[in-house]
Amino acid sequence: MRLLTHNMLACNIKGVTNGYPLRLEAEKWVEKEVDFNADFLRGVFPKIDWPALVGAARALGFHDLLPVDAPDPSVLASDDELLRRFHRALLQLHVEEGGLVCPETSRRFPINKGIPNMLLHEDEV
């Protein structure tokens, strides 16, 4: 699971209203290089929840990879270094083992072999 996926997933237990962002627990992660595509990154940037991405990167031990405050899109257009950091955080880091914890209920969705298990129990649907 990469951090763009984390940025989209929310807890969907019935009745939960604050199921986002899921707190990321990363016991094991790997980095895999992917082609850098500036257009793609600029296109996806406005749809990203920045604090959730910063939090997820921190969970992997990257405390200074991203600025705490969301950059202005205009900065992203000119700052290649920042765009590359964004690329790395969003697309290159894969969480292999760990979990996703609902901020409201503390329900933990496990991540095994890179696959988060978001299945709900019968009484959660």
Binding site: R2, N7, M8, L9, V44, K47, M118, L119, L120
Partner: protein
């Protein structure tokens, strides 16, 4: 077991109609795509109650090729494969240049096979185990959904639920396969209930699907299936 039996076969001339206006290079690349998809491992123990049968390389390659070459819905996009099974459609999307692919399936065994296939083909595809019916996704990050959902032979209405969720999360297009016998119904719910801007059948295909009911004498049934493109 002969896995060919579980495959999808295409008959008649409908599929070639999709390709007719394209040239030689298209054919070559399409053949490459089909060849790569042919090396994908499919459901080792298919679960009939989940309608687990793969989209064969022939249809899968043409579906994703058309999505890209006719409509520009794949290259550089975020693409989701709902009910991804062993990953065929998502992997096809990645090979056609999607920048981010996500596959969702309820079954962990299929996802594990999908994960092996992703490594084999050397693409990136995030896999998520969930029931598509109660999928929660924030933001409109996904551009295109490509799916071969269960037809609803075992879980009534699941085809419509997949479509409903797909039209909610996609911002650009949804490609899906539905039984031709449900054409009017699908069109109506897509436009009226799920607020699709458009719903268009791109072509009609023939599927060999494994028998879903005990009273089916034959080992597989041949059914007519529509390839749809919806605009959310």
């Amino acid at each position: 077991m002969n896995f060919e039996l579980w495959g999808v076969s295409i008959r008649g001339r409908n599929s070639s109609r999709v390709l007719a206006h394209e040239g030689f290079i298209f054919e070559m690349k399409l053949k490459q795509l089909e060849g790569l998809l042919g090396s994908i491992q499919q459901f080792p123990n298919p679960k009939l109650e989940l309608e687990q049968y793969p989209t064969g390389p022939h249809i899968a390659s043409r579906l994703v090729y058309t999505a890209e070459n006719t409509f520009g819905d794949v290259n550089g996009k975020v693409v989701a494969d709902f009910g991804c099974g062993c990953g065929t459609l998502g992997i096809a999307g990645a090979l056609m240049g999607a920048d981010y692919i996500m596959g969702f399936d309820v079954d962990s065994q299929s996802l594990e096979t999908a994960s092996q296939n992703v490594e084999l083909i050397e693409v990136d595809m995030d896999l998520i185990q969930c029931n598509v019916k109660n999928l929660a996704l924030r933001g409109q990050v996904i551009n295109t959904v490509i799916m071969n959902p269960p037809f609803g032979t075992r879980q009534k209405g699941i085809d419509a639920e997949f479509l409903s969720v797909a039209l909610k999360v996609a911002s650009q297009a949804v490609y899906s396969l539905h039984k031709t016998s449900t054409r009017e119904h699908i069109k109506r719910i897509a436009l009226r209930d799920f607020n699709a801007k458009s719903a268009e059948v791109l072509c009609e295909l023939r599927f060999d699907v494994p028998k879903m009911y005990k009273f089916h004498k034959k080992k597989e049934v041949d059914i007519a299936v529509d390839l749809w493109r919806f605009v959310p």
